[in-house]
């Protein structure tokens, strides 16, 4: 069994065991087993990063076995510079989520932990699948645990949010299924993504495919105007659900553009790049304004996520290396930063049981250590140099200026809006005099919370100060993808 298979199936297996054998009465044991499993799953992803050869764009750690002979489907895995970082990131975030839930989740602990472990394995599967159908199976299957996570452990409007999340995403991906079948037919009976990359297609077919993929991935990213499920899902989901949703699940959509839309339909992608850029910039600017007026902290961070994701898709569709690498770096850094932001909100929510900004004020007085971390993550969220948030945004803006100065200028306004909504929230929540008795009664973070926030803080600073390992790994793959996408593959 290869390393990638291990990274997929180890957490899934552990999750299934927890689901099957766990009891409410053994919550303590369940937590330790889940922690152990998450840690082991994270460890097995490390050799992937260490052994990755960044001098080639070829897919590495490949595994291929027959799966459904009837449709020529293979269990085919592999990673390249575009996807390699998301495998350890997924496992890492899952580890954080398990720790974050430690004392917070007391109801049906084994199901909670099991769902997150299974979800982790499935998402690693999405990032490493090289067979179209396998990708689809993983992509769709992730909906099920997330649906249950939101619905069972979520807030008051959880049912509405869970349904909206599920049906929105399913609507997009069902059309993608038709697109995959169409490609299967066009390629003479193959679900192999690499074969599809080489497949010549007429412009009409490319356009249809492009939009089918667009619907599936745009909902997942989410891009304006199909983003409305995200604020609902984020607000209602438990802290762990929000963290995984923001840190990893949104990236499934971005990654889909890289793996499917750009290489399979390059001509349509070029033709519609203006459309994509426009939607992305709307997300950056308009959603930035929307974030400014939110009263709910989780909603604010959710809208800020949409704006940041707009940056990612913007970077992809300006077709230069800085933009695309910047987009991918932004995906990774947003994984750390947004995860950390939601954890911070979770820390406050566990104590006060409110997400309203107005319920707080002067938290820094009673929780100084926590406020320090929160400040750092907020700075990263607005893209302060030296933090992870800066690198990706800077690269995308540079790429955009190269492409068209004015587009770059519009994109750069995010630095202002981002700072505005984030810092204004920080000011209202953390600074000023102590607002009420709830805030006065707050206790600072304990060792567990300190540990998980510290690990994330290190990651955020490391990526901000020394992003070279991240950009080096993706460099060759990105330039290869751009080269590939630049060549027309119209069928005559």
């Amino acid at each position: 069994m290869g390393l990638l298979s291990l990274a997929i199936w180890l957490p899934i297996l552990a999750g299934v065991v927890l689901l099957a054998l766990g009891r409410d009465s053994q919550a303590g044991t369940v937590r330790w087993v889940a922690l152990l499993a998450a840690f082991a799953s994270f460890l097995v992803t490390l050799p992937l990063v260490k052994g990755f050869d960044s001098s080639t764009a070829a897919l590495q750690f490949q595994e291929k076995m027959g799966w459904i002979a009837r449709f020529n489907v293979h269990y085919h895995l592999g990673v390249d510079g575009l996807s390699i970082w998301f495998v350890p990131l997924t496992a890492f975030i899952t580890l954080i989520v398990v720790v974050a839930a430690w004392e917070v989740i007391t109801d049906r602990v084994h199901q909670y932990m099991g769902a997150f472990l299974i979800l982790s394995g499935l998402m690693v599967g999405v990032f490493s699948a090289l067979d179209g159908l396998l990708f689809y199976v993983f992509f769709e299957a992730t909906l099920i645990p997330m649906y249950l996570i939101i619905g069972v452990w979520g807030g008051p409007k959880r049912v509405y949010a869970a349904f909206k999340f599920f049906l929105y995403t399913l609507a997009g991906s069902l059309l993608m299924l038709v697109a995959l079948i169409f490609l299967y037919y066009k390629s003479g009976g193959s679900f192999d993504i690499l074969t599809w990359h080489k497949l010549p297609l007429a412009m009409s077919a490319q356009t249809l495919l492009f939009f089918a993929f667009f619907l599936a991935f745009a909902v997942k990213v989410p891009m304006w105007p199909v983003h409305t499920w995200l604020p609902d899902a984020h607000v209602e989901a438990p802290t762990g659900g929000s963290v995984v949703l923001a840190a990893i699940m949104l990236k499934l959509g971005c990654y889909g553009f890289l793996r499917f839309s750009l290489p399979i339909t390059p001509d349509a992608s070029h033709k519609w790049s203006g459309f994509m850029i426009a939607l992305s910039l709307v997300a950056v600017v308009y959603i930035g304004f929307v974030a400014l007026v939110q009263r709910d902290m989780k909603k604010l961070v959710a809208y800020s996520s949409i704006a940041h994701m707009g940056f990612v898709t913007f970077g992809f569709f300006i077709f230069n290396e800085l933009g695309m690498s910047g987009g991918i770096v932004q995906m990774i850094s947003h994984g750390f930063v947004s995860g950390a932001m939601f954890l911070c909100i979770g820390v406050l929510y566990d104590r006060v049981h409110s997400r309203e900004i107005a319920s707080y004020g002067g938290v820094a007085n009673t929780m100084p250590k926590f406020a320090g971390f929160a400040m750092l993550f907020a700075m990263a969220n607005c893209g302060l140099p030296g933090t992870a948030g800066f690198v990706g945004e800077w690269m995308v803006i540079l790429g955009a200026v190269k492409y068209n100065f004015w587009l770059g200028a519009i994109a750069a306004t995010t630095l202002i809006f981002g700072a505005a909504y984030t810092l204004w929230m920080v000011k209202r929540v953390y600074f000023g005099p102590i607002a009420n008795d709830h805030v006065r009664a707050l206790t600072d973070i304990n060792a567990r919370e300190f540990g998980m926030l510290a690990v994330l803080a290190i990651a955020v600073l490391w990526m901000g100060l020394y992003p070279k390992p991240f950009t080096d790994v993706m460099h060759v793959s990105v330039s290869e993808l751009l080269k590939h996408a630049a060549v027309s593959k119209l069928a005559n």
Binding site: L19, W67, A69, R70, A162
Partner: protein, 493 residues
């Protein structure tokens, strides 16, 4: 030509003989749980099922009883699945029936006769044999629905089923007589040849095929011939609903293939259009109306209408020409679809019976409230089943939909791709009400605190049933391959 070839029909003969034996033997059984009768019935079904499997493995096509019946891989395979479906149904039915004073010898005898009818239809090579099998099955089922005499609902359902079922049989018979009039033969392969010559009066043929398709649509429960489905599913005792919703669907599929494909593929372009209409109508109406249901059995009934619509889609795109490749592709997808649908249906009604108890029918969707807490394991089983009906990976329902969709898309006609898009949009609508069941089980607090009582046997089989839905989802290849083999051989003759 005139040989009787008895050995080709041994499975049916064993079943007939044993059904009679069981009927007689039951007169001496006094145990209220009917253990001897029950065990004998299960043993008989197991043996018959194995005989079918052996026949399938041998792989030959044999005509018997002066070409009245044919024993081919498709018939054998569907026969084996039908035996399995009835066996599982009886396992689920026994505790349920025992609590409702329905556990009489008739339950077993009538089920066996219904299965015999199914078997006869699956291996028919003659219009009259098809009709004979259909009536044998239907009459047994009418009686089964009315088995609970003192229930007004059941009696009403039985009447409705009988009247509409008789009407459908009439349609079918009328259509068949047209065919006979046009081609001068009752034998399916002769009709095929006659139609192939192109000498036949087309208007009579098309007129006949309209009636045949209407009759088949009644039996499959496709829109606009679906009226009986919700009422009968809801009104019949759940044990009987399971018998109606399971194995007979396999038979309906078999005669659809026998009549339309083996007999009338010469005028395929005509009936394919009709199937497109039936299919879209069923998917749209079934899925939309299911949303409004609060009764679980009724919801499953509308879901079955929608599922049949999706299955019919696999029969529509295969404009044959001389090339049977795309035809085989489409029909085997439909067969895979119907087999897996029956598997999931068994589980879903099994769950309804599991939650029912003496004096209480777990019929409302709200009766599932909080099942995730009351019984995490069976909530999981039900979740898998609902996801499969919704067609989500990694359950078998996804591959069934995938198979049908790829058959539709592979015709490469623009209109058919639009058809595929309609189909996926309708499964999106469907996902809503299947998800609602999962929502009720996990997101709501339990209102019913009675412990779930059932026999160990039932728990075991239901668990296996759920596991099979998941397992075929992870490794669907084997089942797909056998369905394909069966269809390819059926088309070759």
């Amino acid at each position: 030509m005139n040989q009787m070839n008895w050995h080709a029909v041994y499975p049916e003969m064993v079943l007939l003989a044993m059904a009679c034996v069981i009927a007689m033997l039951d007169l001496w059984v006094t145990s209220p749980r009917r253990t001897p009768t029950y065990l004998l019935t299960q043993a008989t079904l197991a043996v018959v099922g194995l005989m079918h499997l052996k026949g399938f493995n041998d792989g030959g096509t044999e005509y018997a009883m002066q070409r009245m019946v044919v024993a081919d891989p498709m018939g054998h395979l569907l026969g084996a699945f039908a035996c399995l479906a009835v066996m599982v149904s009886l396992v689920y039915a026994r505790p349920y029936a025992a609590e409702r004073d329905m556990l009489k010898g008739e339950l077993f005898t009538l089920s066996s006769f219904a299965l015999l009818g199914i078997s006869v239809m699956q291996s028919a090579n003659n219009f009259l044999v098809i009709y004979l099998g259909l009536e044998l099955m239907s009459l047994s089922l009418y009686a089964l629905v009315a088995l609970r005499r003192d229930s007004a609902d059941a009696t009403e359902a039985a009447m409705k089923y009988f009247v509409l079922g008789a009407l459908a049989s009439g349609f079918l018979l009328y259509g068949l007589s047209m065919m006979y009039g046009a081609t001068g033969s009752l034998e399916i392969s002769d009709v095929f040849k006659a139609v192939g010559t192109g000498q036949i009066n087309k208007s009579v043929l098309v007129f006949g095929v309209v009636f045949i398709v209407a009759g088949l649509a009644f039996k499959l429960g496709a829109v606009p011939f679906h009226m009986w489905v919700p009422d009968v599913y809801q009104g019949a005792p759940t044990a009987v609903t399971l018998l109606i919703g399971g194995a007979p669907k396999l038979a309906a599929f078999a005669i659809t293939i026998r009549l339309l494909v083996e007999g009338l593929s010469g005028i395929g372009a005509d009936w394919q259009q009709m199937l497109v209409v039936l299919s879209i109508g069923s998917m749209v109406l079934g899925n939309l109306v299911a949303i409004a249901q609060t009764n679980l059995k009724r919801m499953l009934a509308y879901s079955s209408i929608a599922q049949m619509g999706f299955m019919l889609l696999g029969l529509t795109p295969t404009v044959v020409g001389m090339n049977t490749f795309s035809a085989a592709n489409g029909y085997s997808s439909s067969m895979f679809y119907i087999v897996t649908y029956v598997l999931t249906t068994l589980g879903s009604f099994g769950m309804v019976m599991l939650l029912s108890r003496q004096g209480f029918e777990a019929e409302q969707i709200s009766d599932l409230k909080g099942l995730g807490k009351r019984s995490p394991w069976f909530a999981l089983v039900m979740t898998v089943i609902m996801l499969s009906l919704a067609g989500l990976p990694p359950t078998v329902g996804f591959y069934a939909k995938l198979a049908v969709l790829q058959a539709v898309v592979s015709t490469n006609v623009g209109g058919y791709i639009a058809l595929a898009v309609v189909a996926v949009l309708m499964s999106l609508v469907g996902a809503f009400y299947y998800l609602r069941v999962i929502k009720v089980m996990y997101f709501d607090e339990p209102t019913d605190t009675h412990p779930i009582v059932s026999t160990g046997e039932m728990r075991f089989v239901l668990s296996i049933n759920g596991a099979a839905v998941l397992l075929f989802g992870l490794l669907p290849d084997g089942l797909m391959t056998v369905c394909r083999e069966a269809i390819v051989k059926a088309l070759a003759t």
